[in-house]
């Protein structure tokens, strides 16, 4: 006779990179998970409600602080929505600069994720190695925009800062640094036996489930569904560049949809971003930076505009969509709706976690790169006695499993 025990999973406060806390409830038989239930919603800051009281330029600064890691894609999607409504034409030079900054952000986010994933498996050395490599991209972002994290370069109708010819040598030096060091990062992740043992055939998401649950981003691409807003509905300068959605069969020849495939997709995308930035720098056209440089005039135009529109962008984690409705009487929008990519990937956790062991929960949950900040607790109920298992213990279980496998 088997005992049924229920778990509620907490993801502890030490994790960077998360937007909403998640509580799971697992039904466990021994060490295997047989049932999953999801509870979300602890970081609801009422951003959309605040946004309906401020004018569009103030909303740009609010949209940046929705997530500290995907800092460019939220203002970019909002600007595209407003530009679609008011029919503002963005100059070409501004489109190319927007593309360059967005790709720099993708590099920084994927390397951050690589460190966090290694930390979950138990390799703290790789965490320190990848975050040290990431500092080079942050230096470059600071050189171009003025700040490491909240950049504030994108505005309605263009960009606020320029990339001049005397900045090119620094950019090229940083890109060459990445071309040399990506090989080291790839061999650490893809050729290491322990990482392969922990991540292959673990947390599988089939192609059918991906389509039905509407998953987006590298999570979907690793399962074979080629959804990528940069390719499908090319915005900014992506229509002129050579972009392809990255799937794992480029490296391994087959698509399994497990954690190993997601690692491959993200590392391939870093290499693709370096290539895209070089293409943009070659083709950078000359011209204005903003369609309307005077802000009071821009706000006066938007106050009289009426209509609704959507704006989509490709964040490092997937598709971001903003819906804006302007009513022509106030400066503040009538409605503003934000949807971040992790929203769609939450339901994908349920088929991924069925049948896995408890020690695999951190790596499977981290492999979809969730953007939530969490503070829930795990309760183990066994024979009507409650035992609390928090993030520290789960993390230790994960590390012990790695040690067992590598002996």
């Amino acid at each position: 006779m088997s005992e049924k025990t229920t778990y509620t999973l907490p993801i502890g406060p030490i994790h960077p990179a998360l937007k909403e806390p998640v509580a799971f409830e697992f039904e466990i038989e021994g060490e295997r998970i047989i049932g999953v239930d999801l509870k979300v919603g602890h970081v609801h800051r009422a951003i959309e409600w605040i946004g309906m009281r401020r004018n569009p330029i103030q909303i740009l600064y609010l949209a940046e602080r929705i997530c500290g890691i995907c800092n460019i894609c939220h203002p970019l999607a909002f600007c595209r929505a407003v530009e679609n409504i008011a029919d503002i034409e963005v100059p070409e030079r501004a489109e190319y600069i927007r593309t360059i900054i967005a790709e720099l952000e993708r590099i920084h986010s994927h390397i951050l994720w690589a460190g966090v994933a290694a930390h979950e498996i138990g390799f703290d050395t790789v965490l320190h190695l990848s975050w040290a490599i990431r500092e080079k991209v942050l230096d470059l972002i600071e050189y171009l925009t003025g700040n490491r994290i909240t950049k504030a370069v994108i505005t309605i109708g263009g960009v606020r800062r320029d990339i001049t010819k005397d900045q090119y040598p620094t950019i090229n030096e940083a890109l060459n640094y990445y071309k040399e060091n990506l090989g080291a990062l790839k061999s650490v992740f893809l050729d290491d036996k322990s990482i392969q043992m922990r991540s292959k055939n673990c947390g599988i998401l089939t192609k059918e489930d991906t389509l039905k649950l509407c998953a987006v981003g590298p999570t979907a691409r690793a399962s074979g569904v080629k959804k990528d807003v940069r390719v499908d509905q090319a915005y900014c300068a992506y229509g002129d560049l050579d972009v392809k959605p990255m799937t794992p069969d480029v490296v391994t020849g087959e698509i399994n949809g497990d954690v190993y495939d997601r690692i491959i997709v993200r590392l391939l995308e870093v290499a693709q971003s370096v290539d895209l930035i070089e293409q943009c720098l070659d083709k950078l056209p000359s011209g204005d930076l903003m369609a309307e440089p005077k802000i009071p005039k821009l706000l006066a135009i938007l106050k009289k505009t009426e209509g609704e529109g959507i704006g989509r962008a490709e964040a490092p984690r997937g598709e971001v969509i903003h819906y804006v409705k302007l009513d022509g009487k106030n400066e503040a929008p009538y409605t503003w709706r934000v949807r971040a990519p992790t929203y769609n990937n939450l339901l994908a956790w349920i088929p991924m976690l069925m049948g896995e062991q408890i020690a695999d929960i951190p790596i499977v949950a981290a492999s979809t790169d969730p953007c939530m900040s969490c503070t829930n607790r795990v309760t183990v109920i066994r024979n009507n006695k409650k035992k609390i298992l928090d993030n520290e213990k789960l993390h230790r279980l994960s590390i012990e499993k790695t040690r067992r496998l590598s002996v």
Binding site: K19, H42, R45, W49, I50, R65, I69, H128, C374
Partner: protein
């Protein structure tokens, strides 16, 4: 007795990080302070997994309604002597979220705070400076007694 406790502070500070609903910008800069570029680990400081081992609490984010009692409980679980550092603009005055229906107020209404590190997000150097100020403040408090 107090002087003896402060001796332990001179050796290494163990830090516990609480996220009460922030955008994670401040959290990334805290973890970046541990990595080889800024390397706070050479002073012996490390992030621990439970408040019962901690000397210093690092709190980020505007306090959400759901997180109010949890923050108070964590503060009570931390043993004396302890210090509280608030990182970022959100905990100090609300930052961009200052008028919202789900925010339970700045952190100093719930627990006593020792040092504020302003910025959105503050640089890792600023966070290290804030921790150094906590050190000096605790030494001064110990010397008065």
């Amino acid at each position: 007795m107090k002087k003896q406790q402060l001796e332990t502070f001179k050796k290494s500070l163990w830090v516990f990080h609480i996220n009460t609903g922030s955008c994670n910008g401040c959290d990334i800069e805290i973890v970046a302070a541990l990595t080889p570029r800024y390397d706070i680990e050479r002073f012996g400081m490390m992030l621990v997994g439970t408040p019962r081992h901690a000397d210093v609490l690092l709190i980020t984010g505007p306090v959400m309604r759901q997180m109010k009692d949890k923050v108070k409980r964590v503060y009570e679980q931390t043993p004396e002597p302890k210090a509280v550092i608030v990182v970022g603009n959100c905990g100090a005055t609300g930052g961009v979220f200052h008028e919202s229906y789900n925010v339970a107020g700045p952190i100093d209404k719930l627990i006593p705070v020792d040092v504020y590190v302003p910025g959105c997000p503050p640089r890792p150097e600023a966070i290290i400076y804030g921790v150094a100020k906590v050190w000096l403040k605790l030494e001064k408090m110990g010397a008065k007694k």
